[in-house]
Symmetry: C2
Subunit: 505 residues, 2 copies
């Protein structure tokens, strides 16, 4: 574990622990804001969060921190230090350099702009009026380009933004990966379109009482290995996972009484994230290493559970009988195979968050193509609606009737989160590769899952991935787990195997 004997390391850890304590407080306050905070509590909450942010930022960006990091950099290569120590210093250095490169005035200005832009985006989406949002988005894009300049980049400004979400990833690498992904996804989609199989999705859309949905979901979450003595499950408008410590990890869900997938699928998805956080070695607690290796790696865990396990025939062989108790009258004449078909229905749709496993990545590729062109100055904000709709037509064969269901649907750009979207698809591809390795390790995986045994999966993931937290770069970690670098073929083979079977191709 971390070296707590070296003098400089001790000093660094003291600082790092305090920084983490402040950010843990922010995390609990953020969770509270989305779950239990009374409506008018926002008045004080915004101030508290901002003061915690500024206090942490000031503490971190002192010259003292820079000196300490510099001192340790040359020392930490020694044999008395471990990969953990080196990772901590490497991450601190990266974050420190990024923070001090950005002028305080710029950071403040951007945070205020993003907050106003988010409010305006909500308005624009409600009113279906892109032109209201456009001037704000122009400023956001302008400032993100400026940020890329401050931070410095080699090939594309977009690279340095991407790096913040997926260390080691570049636009060029992504273009390769995504071009292959796009091609075989379009081929798969075409085959599905031509198939005669039509899953009966109506059976997901009957009445499932809220309380019973929650009970059922909780049982699934528990069986996955979520530790309720070190976590909670609550409700919020948008499901999320929040972690302030490996022993305090909270997931939220949302219930639609007339659509089962909303609650159940988001519970399985968020538990995937939560198991990552709960599985981090406790020796990394109170440091920035107590986090996922990257956004993409984090998403791989939620996706693996949601799609590879939670939507598999094996899973439902065990759980379907239990689900029947949630809505006995509606599921009386349905069997588990029909149910699994319905869960895996593929059909082009307008909204990313509701997309199936196949079309989902097309939504992401579309956003990636637009956002990199925006940041690199290839297109302008005013072009977005047209470009969006053309790409929707080209990739999915459908065009939104309104920008609200099109280029205004996501909050990410309003917050300035350029470089975030690709990590969703990277997550899907990491998941395929990790799942492939898992199946090699457990040739009887399906039999075990069909008996209701899920804990062995959690244990394997914790041992191979979770416990390390942010110690390894994603490109190293995927090699450690699977023996090779990220390889799109696993996702391609998975799509072929799973959907070929369902849709007969």
């Amino acid at each position: 574990m971390l070296n707590t004997k070296n003098k400089a390391m001790k000093k660094l850890l003291k600082l790092e622990n305090e920084l983490h304590d402040l950010s843990a407080a922010k995390s609990v306050l953020g969770w509270d804001q989305e779950t239990y905070m009374p409506e008018r509590g926002i008045d004080g909450r915004a101030y508290s969060l901002s003061t915690l942010e500024v206090t942490g930022h000031k503490k971190f960006t002192r010259k003292y921190t820079g000196k300490l990091i510099k001192e340790l950099e040359s020392v930490v290569i020694g044999p008395e230090f471990s990969d953990y120590d080196r990772a901590l210093v490497r991450n601190l250095k990266r974050d420190y350099e990024q923070k001090i490169k950005l002028p305080a005035k710029f950071v403040k200005e951007f945070s205020e702009l993003a907050s106003r832009a988010t409010e305006t985006w909500k308005k624009a989406r409600n009113e279906n009026n892109f032109s209201v949002f456009a001037p704000y988005l122009e400023k956001i894009v302008g400032m993100k380009r400026k940020e890329a300049k401050y931070l410095g980049y080699q090939q594309f400004p977009y690279d340095v933004l991407l790096e913040q979400y997926e260390p080691g990833m570049t636009q060029a690498k992504l273009e390769n990966i995504f071009s292959e992904l796009k091609q075989y996804t379009l081929e798969t989609l075409e085959k599905i379109k031509q198939s005669n199989v039509k899953p009966k999705t109506e059976l997901l859309k009957v009445h499932y009482p809220a309380e019973k949905q929650l009970d059922f979901s909780r049982k699934v979450v528990e069986s996955m290995g979520f530790d309720f003595s070190a976590g909670r499950m609550d409700q919020s408008a948008h499901p999320f996972t929040s972690s302030s410590h490996p022993n305090d990890v909270r997931i939220t869900t949302r219930i639609d009484e007339n659509y089962l997938s909303t609650c159940l699928t988001s519970c399985i998805h968020e538990t995937g994230h939560a198991l990552y956080e709960q599985g981090i070695d406790i020796g990394l607690a109170r440091t920035r290493l107590a986090d996922g290796a990257s956004y993409g790696f984090h998403e791989s865990q939620s996706r693996l559970w949601e799609n590879y396990i939670g939507k598999s025939p094996a899973f439902w062989r065990f759980w379907f009988d239990k689900l029947k108790g949630v809505s006995p009258e509606n599921l009386a004449n349905v069997n588990d195979e029909e149910f699994v078909l319905a869960m895996n229905d593929v059909a082009p749709s307008l909204i990313r968050t509701e997309a199936d496993e196949v079309t989902y990545n097309l939504h992401i590729i579309l956003r990636f193509e637009i956002e990199k062109d925006l940041i690199n100055g290839e297109i302008e904000v005013k072009d977005i609606p047209t470009v969006w709709n053309n790409k929707m037509k080209e990739y999915l064969g459908i065009v939104p009737e309104s920008d609200s269901a099109g280029c205004l649907q996501d909050i990410h750009w309003a917050c300035g989160d350029f470089g975030y979207f690709p990590t969703y698809s990277l997550g899907n591809m990491y998941a395929a590769q990790i799942y492939h390795r898992l199946c090699e390790e457990y040739p009887d995986l399906d039999e075990k899952v069909a008996r209701g045994d899920l804990l062995f999966i959690r244990k394997w993931l914790a041992d191979k991935i979770h416990k390390y937290g942010k110690t390894y770069q994603p490109e190293d970690l995927i090699k450690m787990v699977t023996g090779e670098e990220l390889n799109p073929k696993y996702f391609r083979e998975y799509l072929k195997r799973k959907f070929g079977k369902i849709y007969n191709f």
Copy 2:
């Protein structure tokens, strides 16, 4: 409101706001710890709370703060400043001077001792073994005596501890007030003992389903004027009120399905506290003036609602029919008058928190007499059990069979909260005097309450007391509200009137 134009005042407010934001975060984290935090979350939580505390303390005790306060002290008397500005500077000065008088090492040592002492106290209480706790309490008393020396005092060391909870109060003043209170309480108790009236308390101890108790309590809380858009109501092991902002005030309650008073009475009590917090002028938010005038004044609000309103015949004329819905079978043959009698039953008992309105103050006086003698060096820790039991015999005529039900029952001394207990009785007496004034203002108070109208009380209290927050010293505020200083006769007259009627004397 606060002067936000003066340059030095602006600087002070910026600092004060940030300090408050940090302490607001602590308050939410504290609430979360008692309500929703998963069991093992305590590992990270203790660190977060301590880092927030230390960060705020460092920020506050810089020389910069002292200079700013000094600069403003001479300026704030000018006509462009208000009572609010002067109160803020006065309170900041008091708190700053206290904080810098205590060496950092002493503060840290005490906080660690108190934490260990609290753990040991729990153990000692569970095992009914005072001798386990005694060595810790000796250290606590020793350090509180040292604290009094650091802070400086005129007559008694106890004075300066008392001052922290009740500004302006002294041991000598308290001795006068309490000697009168003790005398007439003992006389009243004697008359009640000799009375033939025996309220049927069994009817509080029948089965009241938890959900229905909560619903009923929530309705009462709402009718008192608690604003649920600026607050919440949850459950915790010990009921409390937590406020991070006048627009985010949270109460908790506890439910005993076989004893109605636990939930209902604590809801009314905590709502009394909460209305104080919600009623504070929003212009004082994010400063230390957004608080009660003192612990005693805060308690006056909870007591006024709990005892003067919530246990009055007028109140139950309106609410008893509604309560019948909570336990229809058990309350079928009971009328509101019998019910009010049961709520107001007086009988000596061992546990302070369960004591009735008459005997409650004897519990407090006993603790006051012991704690001041401890701090002033008149008795020693080892004498406590004997002194406690002798006083119980003398004042209440009963003696606990175990120290767990005696001198080990309260957590206060283990935390080092010497000077806190008296504020409970001061609260009762402020309440009597305020209630007397309220009745002068509303001669038809009982009729209004019997019609279910409670909002006029909240409005009056907000207008006379709540809105000012901590702007006025308690001794000034009680004069502003009632025209005279704290006068024990009001509580005497109240006891005579209320219990004379019930017990026929």
